[in-house]
Symmetry: C3
Subunit: 160 residues, 3 copies
């Protein structure tokens, strides 16, 4: 997670394009940051005559569908900003290439997900920092599920 499905016209992207496109998508999530290897892009080449928009065949259309983890984009401001970031990243591959396009994001449960047989550690946890640093799934213990930073967990006036 995230999982990007990119339905694109046959021949729209070379292997080099797909590499660069997926790197650009990945860099967006590195801002968060989450482990780079969480970001999976599946390019699905659609033959002519397989995509219809508003009941009309459309052979120059790119449809992107993303699965992200639920509750990681809280609040209207962050969500609008995120959509603008998605558009910034995909723009060079859709608009600038003369394709029509649409993108939508679904939000799926955190706790029904695993990677290489490991349940991913909580966001911002000590274990996740290690996954980010080593860029692969690693075993971790209970203590590493704790937040890497206690910032934001205490309130002014708390004494303990």
């Amino acid at each position: 997670m995230p999982l990007w499905k990119i339905y694109h016209p046959a021949g729209a992207y070379t292997d080099d394009d797909k590499n660069a496109f997926s790197k650009s998508i990945t860099s967006l999530y590195e801002l968060v940051p989450i482990p780079k290897f969480y970001v999976v892009c599946v390019f699905e080449e659609m033959p002519a005559g397989t995509i219809y928009v508003g009941g009309e065949r459309h052979d120059q259309f790119v449809r992107i569908r993303v699965d992200q983890i639920a509750r990681t984009m809280p609040g209207q401001i962050v969500r609008e900003w995120w959509v603008s970031q998605l558009e910034r990243v995909i723009g060079p591959w859709v608009k600038d290439r003369g394709y029509d396009w649409e993108i939508s994001v679904d939000e799926t449960p955190f706790d029904l997900w695993s990677l290489q047989g490991e349940i991913p550690p909580p966001f911002e946890s000590i274990a996740e920092k290690r996954w980010v640093a080593e860029n692969k799934a690693l075993s971790y213990g209970q203590a590493e599920k704790l937040p890497a930073s206690m910032n934001g967990l205490t309130l002014p006036g708390m004494t303990g």
Copy 2:
């Protein structure tokens, strides 16, 4: 949105079939109404030996999976009616052709979605009426996010 993924046996539908099928799907949403170009159908031709039902290979099976916007189908009566409408639309392409079939709808967030770089206007808004009329994504201002009709926003006995 909506996004229809139609997994079908290789050779099940000609280009003319796909055109007619997608027109029929689109007409269902025109009842709402939403802009026609919101309706995207992706036909995915599955080679023999790629679909298994209950652990048995099934080469005459059509599986349809739809993404719709969450909270636009409120209440049990509307939702049951909607399923019956889906069945009415797909019937000629599945049952009447001798295929087995299944359809399911997922509901995804309204606010993580964009089209041609534009965040779609609120349902029933002034801007959406313009999108319906011109059948394409257009820039719009804050004032056009208001409902096109104030019907239903006032209650009997309200004085202001």
Copy 3:
């Protein structure tokens, strides 16, 4: 439902493999039990150069994405157990074959789903038992929507 989408490298699985893999997945849901024919597996063969993980092309990656019905996996204990069961079932087809892999489950609405034109009966209902026994979609009446067993519907001390 459930719907399993299995994105796998071209040539990873023979028809016999896919048959055995889908039987193994189906057996997991028979534990619940739900009708066997609810379990649909779609094997999607991805050509080299179509999957990118963390911005790097990865031709030995299996990505599995499952749709299940919302609210059927209640509570943290059951959900963790379920992920472990998924891993147990897929292990021989991914880890043991030397592939990298990831699996995630989405939860979709029960009431926007139909099979062969029939809205599936409530879980654990009399009608569902009949669907399990006959392993196909059948018409059913209002009375068959009742639970097959009243166990768990009464509490100690209830007198009626």
